[in-house]
């Protein structure tokens, strides 16, 4: 009973001591804006639109369609709109009108809806974002991180089932940020060595939308169905995929390995 009473008092004290802590982060809350002399059509703030504007917060709020917008301290873009951290378009990017109902070639949202990386083209993800390397916050099945051991196996069947491919890595424990090489063993579905395959390599970090920091290549065909892939480098820890496009005897198919780099 005493204890309960004590806790009550404690709780009161605790809540009391919280009172002075600012509850809401004030960034972005202000809708003030100052426009510089000589600038056209400048009426920022709630419901305002302007070609060049600057908010009092050192942040910037450019409205879709506003050209030559240099706002805030480090914000510069052709057409941009950052209100509640909704989207940032980068300098020099074309046709960029992010935000609600916006679409752009290269854009970035802050709300977890979709994140397109610079250089990604014409991809359709999330609600209103388009680019090649993108992710819809979990709705796109292709970025579901595999969990079962089988999905991380070092021997995999190709997508269409034409080939079975196995890799060994040198070194065996895959390091971060070091160039390593892999040996691939390619077989037909019925276990025959594929001795004259043409193989293209592509690595990707699906959760981040970027690839390897190198361009690996098959540099040697050992002639017995095994191949040397040089120049593989993983720049971060995490889930990576390595995809090999195999062409042999009139067939072409791809095989993807998942790996967890630590």
């Amino acid at each position: 009973m005493f204890k309960k009473f004590g806790i009550l008092i404690l709780a009161v004290l605790f809540v009391g001591s919280m009172a002075w802590v600012p509850v809401i982060d004030s960034v972005g809350a202000a809708v003030k804006c100052d426009c510089k002399a000589g600038e056209k059509g400048c009426t920022c703030g709630k419901g305002c639109a302007c070609e060049h504007c600057k908010t009092g917060k050192g942040e910037c709020k450019c409205h879709a369609g506003g050209k030559g917008c240099a706002c805030g301290k480090d914000c510069k873009c052709e057409h941009c709109m950052t209100g509640k951290g909704e989207c940032h378009c980068k300098a020099g990017e074309k046709g960029c009108t992010c935000g609600k109902g916006c679409g752009c070639e290269h854009c970035r949202t802050g709300k977890g809806e979709c994140k397109c990386h610079a250089g990604g083209k014409g991809c359709q993800c999330g609600k209103d974002c388009k680019c090649a390397h993108c992710m819809a916050g979990g709705t796109d099945a292709s970025v579901q991180k595999p969990t079962s051991d089988a999905e991380y196996a070092k021997t995999m069947k190709s997508k269409g089932g034409d080939f079975t491919v196995a890799y060994t890595s040198d070194p065996d424990a895959i390091p971060v940020n070091k160039i390593i090489s892999w040996k691939l063993k390619v077989e037909t579905a019925d276990g025959q060595a594929v001795k004259d395959a043409e193989i293209a390599v592509n690595g990707d970090m699906p959760e981040h939308g970027h690839g390897l920091p190198t361009q690996p290549q098959v540099t040697k065909n050992f002639g017995d169905g095994t191949y040397l892939v040089e120049g593989i480098k993983f720049s971060m820890p995490g889930w990576w995929t390595m995809t090999f496009a195999v062409k042999a005897a009139g067939k072409s198919d791809t095989v993807t390995f998942n790996l967890q780099v630590k």
Partner: protein, 421 residues
């Protein structure tokens, strides 16, 4: 005995009173609160998995200096000694006032603490710290150089840095360092002001210097280039040796790995420990700031949006066409040893606005931050990351307090630097 009993019964009453009082924590909120934080002061129990992650960040896991196959003098003590002299020698500049140390001051972790560096003029980027650079594959913010020796001769001919020429370097070496040079690299060729005009260079951007360079005999040009490259190799031998010594963070990790909780607690405060947890966990900083040097030495666009600088996108062609690169004729490497250059990622669109991840060693000692000194303080850096959250750093939900904790952790990365004194 009896008397004792009586006394003890009195004491029993007192103790009982105290116990009753204590069982009403409401009457002693301060005491209760102290007990609460006391619990939190316990060293956080790092999981075995986390301990592995931590020790991968500690200097104890820094491997020995990697070989540089493109510089066979890289570990030669004579090269280190000569390189050190040139590093501090202001005579290798147009006005006699600029040496490498002008911008890379040993007193401030080999930086100048300026947003943009000042030599003969002002550069467009911030001076990078020289800490453990031997471990990197690419140099400069845009990685336009692939070795330390090739990097070292860049600033000498930059009009805003040393403002010098390679032909002047050849003369200066002959005049000032003939003996040391020849002991290392063999006989210096005979070059006079006619066969090698002092203001001759293809690399300064000055048309007159370029004309003078083109007028030189091909074999003299090669001779000058060879001396110039060798100067770079000597400087690189010195710069390679600039290495971090254990900071409080490293000693903390060593203590944690040895399960020496008491020592660990002395080395890092609660905030710093919490900050470290965030750094390797929720904030995902180790996506890029990884390994004992806290960098993957790769290129990333973290959203600084500098319209004046394309970063790595412009560095790719430069390193590929550099006559002083790893596969060039002044390199000591066999072409197949030049792995980074052979497998370089040439996708420029991917690297627009991407810059080299800087080391975080001694980071608190050398504001301002970022490639053009855009951010003045560590707390500005951290609020910047909060604003520019992406998949690679999940950061937007952080409270100011959490940011302060990460900052406290970053401060534990400051330690002395070792270099040949």
């Amino acid at each position: 005995m009896r008397r004792n009993n009586r006394v003890s019964s009195v004491w029993r009453c007192v103790i009982a009173a105290i116990l009753i009082a204590l069982s009403m924590p409401g009457l002693f909120p301060a005491w209760e609160a102290a007990a609460e934080t006391g619990d939190h002061q316990e060293i956080p129990l790092w999981t075995e998995e986390e301990k592995k992650e931590l020790s991968a960040l500690s200097l104890s896991s820094l491997p020995p200096l990697p070989k540089d196959p493109s510089n066979k003098y890289a570990d030669d003590p004579k090269a280190i000694a000569l390189g050190k002299k040139i590093f501090f020698d202001k005579r290798f500049s147009a006005n006699g006032k600029v040496s490498c140390a002008t911008c890379h001051d040993p007193e401030t972790t080999f930086t100048d603490k300026l947003p943009l560096a000042k030599g003969m003029g002002t550069t467009t980027r911030r001076t990078m710290p020289l800490i453990g650079t031997a471990y990197f594959a690419w140099f400069f913010w845009d990685g336009r150089k692939d070795s330390l020796w090739s990097q070292a001769i860049g600033p000498i001919e930059s009009s805003v840095e040393h403002g010098f020429t390679r032909s002047m370097c050849a003369h200066l070496i002959t005049d000032l360092y003939k003996k040391e040079y020849e002991e290392l690299f063999g006989r210096l060729p005979k070059l006079d002001h006619k066969s090698c005009p002092p203001k001759a260079s293809p690399g300064t951007g000055n048309p007159a210097a370029l004309r003078a360079w083109k007028a030189m005999k091909p074999e003299d040009r090669v001779a000058v280039n060879r001396i110039y490259a060798n100067i770079g190799k000597a400087i690189a031998a010195f710069v390679r040796q600039i290495l971090p010594a254990p900071a409080p963070f490293d000693r903390y990790v060593d203590a944690v790995v040895q399960n020496d909780e008491e020592k660990a607690r002395e080395l890092m405060g609660n905030d710093a420990v919490d900050g470290l947890k965030l750094f390797i966990g929720k904030a995902k900083c180790t996506n890029c700031h990884i390994g004992p040097l806290f960098t993957n030495s790769s290129f990333h666009d973290i959203g600084l949006n500098n319209p004046k600088d394309n970063g790595r996108a412009d560095g790719i062609d430069k390193v590929l066409s550099d006559e002083f690169n790893c596969v060039g004729k002044y390199s000591d490497a066999r072409p197949e040893e030049c792995l980074e250059l052979r497998f370089i990622d040439t996708n420029k669109a991917k690297y627009r606005g991407a810059f080299k991840t800087p080391t975080l060693r001694n980071v608190a000692e050398r504001p301002p931050y970022m490639h053009a000194g855009q951010l003045k303080t560590l707390s500005e850096v951290l609020s910047f990351y909060r604003r520019n959250a992406s998949d690679e750093f999940e950061h937007r939900d952080f409270s100011d307090q959490e940011l302060a904790k990460i900052e406290a952790f970053l401060k534990t990365l400051s330690g002395p630097l070792n270099y040949p004194k």
